[in-house]
Amino acid sequence: MNKQNGYKCDDIEKLLILDELDASEKSRVTLHLENCKRCRQFASDLENIRTGMDFSTEDSLQPSPHIRTNILERMNQARSTKRRSLTELRWKLKSVLEYRVPVYQAALSGVVVLLIILFLQNPPTELQFVAEDQFITAGQDSLVSVPLNVNIIDNIDSVPNQNGGWNSAEDSVFSRYIFPAM
């Protein structure tokens, strides 16, 4: 085995193949090549391989033009599918809000029927009387004024809070729709 300036030819071949030499390795390899025909031949072989492998030299091979078109088309499809499903979701939401869905309508009618039954079981005059009565006693020093013509069914159980308002405000509002003002 040929050995020039501390490097065996095998080591030189490996260094040439790796081609990631630092400055000192580079100068030692250059010195070795000056004195070793075998390694000079290998360096030349390697150079030819590198040139032969450079992908830019294979000019004739180009991607088929339809590939880009196909992929862009697929992206469009994916986009419109996404848009379609978003539109569908929006429509469904709108239907629910606008009572377009039959199931929702049925449920709503059920609730209305239930409320009518409740209404029939508890005649409003009696309730209205109790509510107004309670309002008068409780609301004497009330800061929040509640119109007397509003029928407040739930205020039977309500107690005025520290500010003199009503705790079951939501129920009060709800009750307006059940017992329209006389």
Binding site: F55, Q62, S64, I71
Partner: protein, 201 residues
């Protein structure tokens, strides 16, 4: 449009992938411009010069990328990621072909020998780079999958040893030893053509 194009041209591959995750077509176009030829040529060599299959694979790999861009982790390098996918596609293809290969091996060997005889007859008269390249590709096709991919990633795609080890999921030491083996083997096989090239130049 051209303003948009130049905007993307300045982005790194990894930034383009983030735009692609938002389904930006211009980002796809830019990545395709940067990688389609490289990937096609890699497939072409990995698939023994089967151009139709290489084109199909090119389309498949980009479809995978545009359909599942979220699979890309932006902390990694796009080039090593795309070549990892490309290499795995070839690996799967070899697996599929394994059964067929055994059947075709004999026929291949006979054609190859005839080709080589013709090549040697020609070589005495005239050598040029084109012929050298054909011989090089012929030698390359005889390497195992792991040696061939290492060789291609290094000499055709100019990746560093570290990058190749990331793509192939093996140690840098393994990459180096595969590279030494493949290069020395090919250099040895092509020695006579190299001598001819040197003489002509």
């Amino acid at each position: 449009m051209s303003l948009l194009k130049s905007k993307y041209r300045k982005q790194t591959d990894e930034q383009l992938m983030r735009f692609l995750q938002e389904r930006e077509k211009a980002a796809f176009n830019e990545l395709y411009d940067r990688y389609s030829v490289r990937i096609l040529k890699f497939f072409h060599r990995m698939l023994n010069g089967d151009e139709q299959k290489s084109q199909d694979f090119l389309q498949d790999i980009f479809l995978k990328i545009v359909e599942k861009p979220h699979l890309f982790d932006s902390h990694q390098s796009f080039s090593t990621w795309i070549f990892t996918i490309a290499r795995n596609m070839c690996k799967n293809e070899y697996r599929k072909q394994d059964v067929r290969k055994i059947m075709e091996l004999k026929a291949d060997f006979e054609t190859e020998t005839a080709d080589r005889d013709y090549f040697y007859a020609q070589s005495e008269q005239q050598f040029d780079r084109k012929q050298f390249q054909t011989a090089l590709m012929n030698e390359l096709s005889k390497l195992s999958d792991s040696h061939r991919s290492t060789f291609l990633l290094r000499y055709q795609q100019q990746f560093s040893i570290k990058e190749i080890s990331d793509i192939l999921h093996c140690s840098e030491g393994t990459v180096k030893s595969r590279l030494f083996y493949a290069t020395q083997k090919i250099a040895h096989q092509l020695r006579k053509y190299n001598e001819e090239i040197s003489r002509n130049e």
